[in-house]
């Protein structure tokens, strides 16, 4: 069992997502940065399906009721276990009664806490992920609060052998402010934007707005212009409107300023979507913080596939490197 002493700013239970219900409006939810979530799990002998705690901007404080193994991955947050500093990206032994405390993130936005055996809340539609809008999944469908108690699943038989293993230094992301490049594939309803505006989308600087969250990442930047047309029947009168359609996770819609649809997505609506963040960069985008820059680079579908394969290869390498032989 884990007792929550302080929930932090917004800490939720997340796994790799809830699938098969998008057509009735249920988004995948799940860890915003699936890379860091998976790595934290691998470090404690879990697989990526296990639930972790996703902490946003500021970490939580928890007390462990029994001996276990934990790992932290993602945004840099100074962490102490019973007052002693502990490293991130490394499996750490915990004794019953130990208290873990995390500070504000100094680089990146989201940190994942994995516990051997995973956070064991009741699955909803085959997932333990929190979807707060309608209050399903996770712990009572909401962010954690002081006094919440979380069960932990059965750890792998060799979980203790993971203690001290760490992610190879070259595989640890940096979340630097100068690494603001996010790759996108232009398409969907991009015919609505003028050529100059498409150019602007992929050359000018965007800033993450204050209300960038699990539902959508709002960005501010230059004005974008739409191709003039007589609006088609059913679309509505505004030039940004199309006949309501499905929104891919990662797609960029332009109500006026861009919003990138994230894992607690609104699943569809009537704004023109003009591009999609490649699957390998969605986690990276979710680590961008309010007021930080984002630059979009247009790539091909083949480039997006190559980036996905590359990321999967890195994850496989990390899994092999941290798993005791």
């Amino acid at each position: 069992m884990i007792e929550v002493l302080d929930g932090g700013l917004s800490t939720t239970v997340q796994d790799n997502g809830r699938y098969g219900q998008y057509h009735i409006g249920v988004p995948p939810s799940g860890a915003m940065d699936q890379f860091a979530h998976s790595v934290a799990n691998y470090l404690v002998g879990n697989d990526e399906e296990h639930a972790t705690l996703e902490m946003t901007y500021k970490g939580c404080e928890v007390r462990f009721e029994e001996d276990t193994v934990i790992a932290l991955a993602g945004a840099e947050m100074a962490a102490t276990l019973d007052g002693e500093a502990i490293p991130m990206w490394e499996a750490v032994a915990v004794d019953a009664g130990d208290e873990l405390a995390l500070q504000f993130a100094t680089a990146g936005a989201r940190t994942y806490l994995a516990v051997a055996g995973g956070i064991d809340v009741e699955p909803v539609m085959d997932s333990r992920s929190t979807y707060a809008l309608i209050g399903i999944g996770g712990h009572e469908g909401r962010a954690l609060e002081e006094g919440d108690v979380l069960a932990v699943g059965e750890p792998a038989a060799n979980a203790d052998a993971f203690v001290g293993t760490r992610v190879p230094a070259e595989d640890i992301p940096t979340y630097d402010d100068d690494d603001a490049n996010i790759r996108i594939v232009i398409g969907l309803c991009d015919y609505r934007l003028t050529e100059e505006s498409k150019e602007r989308l992929t050359t000018e600087e965007w800033k993450v707005a204050a209300d960038a969250d699990r539902v959508g990442y709002r960005l501010t930047g230059p004005e974008l212009e739409f191709v003039e047309r007589e609006q088609p029947f059913g679309a509505g009168t505004d030039p940004t409107n199309v006949v309501d359609l499905g929104y891919p996770v990662g797609s960029i819609q332009i109500p006026q300023q861009p919003i990138v649809v994230m894992r607690d997505a609104v699943t569809g609506g009537g704004y023109a979507t003009v591009a999609t963040v490649i699957s390998a960069d969605r986690g990276k985008l979710s680590q961008r913080r309010t007021h930080q820059s984002v630059y979009f680079t247009n790539v091909s579908v083949d480039d997006a596939l190559a980036a996905r394969e590359e990321q999967e290869a890195v994850l496989a390498d990390i899994k092999a490197a941290v798993t005791p032989s």
């Binding site: 699938y19 057509h23 969907l188 059913g234 359609l245 499905g246 699943t267 009537g270 596939l305």
Partner: protein, 301 residues
Amino acid sequence: MVANSITPKTLPEPRYEHGSDDYIFVELDEEMSFDANFRAVAITQQLRELELPGIIEICPANASYMIHFDPDEIAPDALVAKLKDVAADTDLSDYQWETRVIDFPVLYEDEWTHETLMRFRDNHQDANATDIEYSAKINGYDTVQDFIDAHTGAPHMVTMVGFVPGLPWCFQMVPRDRQIEVPKYVSPRTDTPSRAVGFGGAFTAVYPVQGAGGYQLFGRTPVEVLDVDQELADFEESMVFPSPGDIFKFRQIDREEYDEIREEVEAGTFEFKMEPVEFSPEEFFNDPDAYNERLMEVLYE
């Protein structure tokens, strides 16, 4: 001259678009029509039956559809080729599907959406009218009641579900010259009561939960489209009630009936009045008024 049949529309070449490496979006038309929607429903139903490896989500929409897939199991280009094959094999002229016709009570001009819409007059096209007064006027109706009679006078098909869990988009089953069309708010509201019935573009929407919204607010329904705890009998299999292809008959009710239905919903005893039907696009197109009348007979007799 009012149309009493629907002429099938020749759709443009569909656009197959990549949503990066793991989504395909297929736009069947830029404008809304039954033809585009029925094709989206038919193609996605056939895709479901094929059970292709690597398919994660199959999402029909109003005039388009979207697939989420795992490119490690099926390559994007191979999937597009497969979608084109399915489309080529889909002939709507002999296509029918099982659906439900459902009585859907609405309290028009209710106090709750009225209170909300009055708070957001600055976001609206006409600060001196209510949403429904404005919508009646721009659609050429003399009175709000005439407009409500038109909205309830023919059933609506659920053409898409989403935005948030359970929100149905409903497209009225009448020829184009009788379709209601209204703009969305100039800028969206930050608040909408749960169970609000709104209209934007050519679609009625029912808001499952309180939240933001940009549709013109006409009324509020006492029934639920989302039951997270699945306490109501109609939600036993899914916390979301509406499905694409459902046929909703909006029915104007008074406050007394609204309160009675709310009591049943809150007691967990409410059940929708509904009947299963076999929907035939061809018969509907030939004579929509007579077809709708037959649907109403199935529901109310």
